[in-house]
Symmetry: C2
């Protein structure tokens, strides 16, 4: 039902994305292929490929926010393309930085073409996001508003790099506080969702106050969603998450519940200092997290952000039908295991 | 004399650059230090450092073009900051891609902080270039013109990534034509100089035709200058260039004269296929290049672009005093050994 509803965006969104990426006559095919591959359209030989593309959460949020704030979603298409390209750019660079070998069950861009090419392909996709945004000028949007959107986009990118920096620093940091962690995910995950909702509402209304409420909505959804993911990473049912049980413990990911636990329990700290983890260590770590209340803390924090998000949305008075879809989108995001 | 003239830009340019980079309260100092280091302001411990910064050719060209086209250079400052930050961003990523260990006699950013951090620092500096451009809005410039400049900036960035891609591809390509090479340097070096002259004139005049002439001027200067450098890399006097004789032969750089020679002479091709080069091989390679007319070809090509640049400038009718300085800047660029 939800997917069907969003389907009406998909054809035009996909066409606009392809237009932005492919209408570059000066780009040789061995350059363009890296971008098309990263976007899930082709295999490494540039052969079209029917990979189910990503969930496109960010552009959907943007387009739906436009409608909920009383605007025409087609007017927002260029910015929806921009946020999706920006997201994909960040994945290319993240995969190099995290040394990730696969994404969506395929080798990452740097695995196929090497680090040097992947850095450059990321830079190109980053630029194409800005190029997509340019197109707003052909959609009867005031230049002043376009500059405002551009500014939001710049600030969001700065937040992404700030969050990424914190995330990488945490690996070498003995003690990370939960506040530091929340600041990191605000930059790395929530800022882009905040921008999506804000830009969508701004294009619809050109109203700073209204779009600030949408921004608040997106930001808190982003925070809640990351914490939701953190909880699933430890307590999620492997059959539902598709990952092994307590996968984030095994990979020693410094997620919110883990950081809470490490700051509360010397036992957990000593487990985390072991060179390798046995299955028993993992079980013991999860038990300790439960005992110190890490799960409860994470759930309560998630709920706080979730409620803030809904309150912000409420205050924005979304149009009845699109507002309902927006709430359904949010519920679907969190429903994976609730 | 020339340096003295440009000195009047430097204080404000430097202050604006520092403002753009340093006025980010959310950036921790261990993040900001990488950007300040890359810009030559501090050492790796964030201690201020009196390194003579780069020559700032790009912002100077932009500001001088503004004046030559009849405008106030201060109005152009934000875009001058933007092009200099963009240039420095590209150096951070280039150094990773080329595996370069030092720049300006200091370890490169990735050498000090690792590849992952250097990619991210580059991304941040890239974004800050766009942030600098935003500031045009506070300089009494029409939003329409700002969007035009932003478009030029996007196109320039795409050209940079295209040129970089070609440059990296050449390493694995048995035969590279001189046309392919010229297309590469157009993207990698000349496009940014073209944008500098064009943006400067656009801010001064808001005249598309006039700024196109300046663009033509900058583009051809960029092409001529790269070829000039290629010639010095083989025939330059080590005492003047500060590099060892025939340094580009030793590093097997596929510069314009070398490509011309490889396409003309099987002897040179066979020298280039040797695993290692002896001093004798280098001498022989240079002799062969001279014999097949590679030096003459490169010099003539340089002259063609140089003359095109001056003709474009002539057609733009630069104001007498700034026009003279613009010509002197160009002459100074090429005077290193002429």
């Amino acid at each position: 039902m939800l997917t069907q509803f969003f389907q009406r965006y998909m054809t035009e969104l996909d066409a606009s994305m392809r237009h932005t990426v492919n209408s570059r006559p000066k780009f040789s095919s061995d350059f363009g292929v890296m971008l098309r591959y990263a976007l899930g359209w082709v295999d490494e030989h540039d052969t079209p490929y029917n990979l189910p593309t990503g969930k496109r959460i960010r552009p959907i949020l943007l387009l739906l926010s436009t409608e909920a704030a009383g605007g025409d979603w087609r007017k927002s298409l260029p910015s929806a393309v921009a946020v999706e390209l920006l997201h994909n750019f960040s994945l290319i660079h993240d995969d190099i930085q995290d040394n990730s070998l696969t994404r969506h069950n395929r080798p990452t861009v740097w695995q196929v073409w090497g680090t040097a090419n992947a850095i450059n392909a990321g830079d190109a996709l980053f630029t194409l996001a800005y190029c997509a945004l340019e197109e707003l000028a052909s959609r009867d949007i005031e230049p002043q508003t376009i500059i405002k959107i551009w500014r939001i986009f710049n600030d969001t990118m700065l937040e992404l790099t700030r969050g990424q920096h914190l995330d990488m620093s945490f690996e070498h940091q003995a003690i990370v506080t939960t506040d530091e962690y929340l600041s990191m995910i605000e930059g790395k995950s929530a800022a882009l969702l905040a921008a999506c909702a804000q830009i969508g509402a701004l294009i619809a209304s050109n109203d700073d106050e209204l779009s600030a409420a949408y921004m608040e909505f997106g930001l808190n959804i982003g925070l809640a969603f990351q914490i939701h993911d953190d909880i699933l990473g430890i307590w999620g049912d492997p059959d539902v998450t598709g990952k092994s049980a307590a996968t984030d413990i095994l990979s020693r990911k410094k997620s919110l519940p883990v950081l809470y636990g490490l700051n509360k329990s010397e036992k957990l700290m000593s487990i985390y200092q072991r060179q390798t983890f046995t299955a028993n260590d993992v079980t013991e770590a999860v038990k300790t997290l439960d005992a110190v209340g890490a799960r409860k803390y994470a759930q309560e924090t998630e709920t706080t952000f979730y409620n803030r998000a809904l309150a912000a949305l409420e205050s924005a008075n979304p149009l009845s039908e699109s507002g309902r879809w927006l709430k359904q989108l949010v519920e679907a995001l969190f429903e994976r295991q609730h």
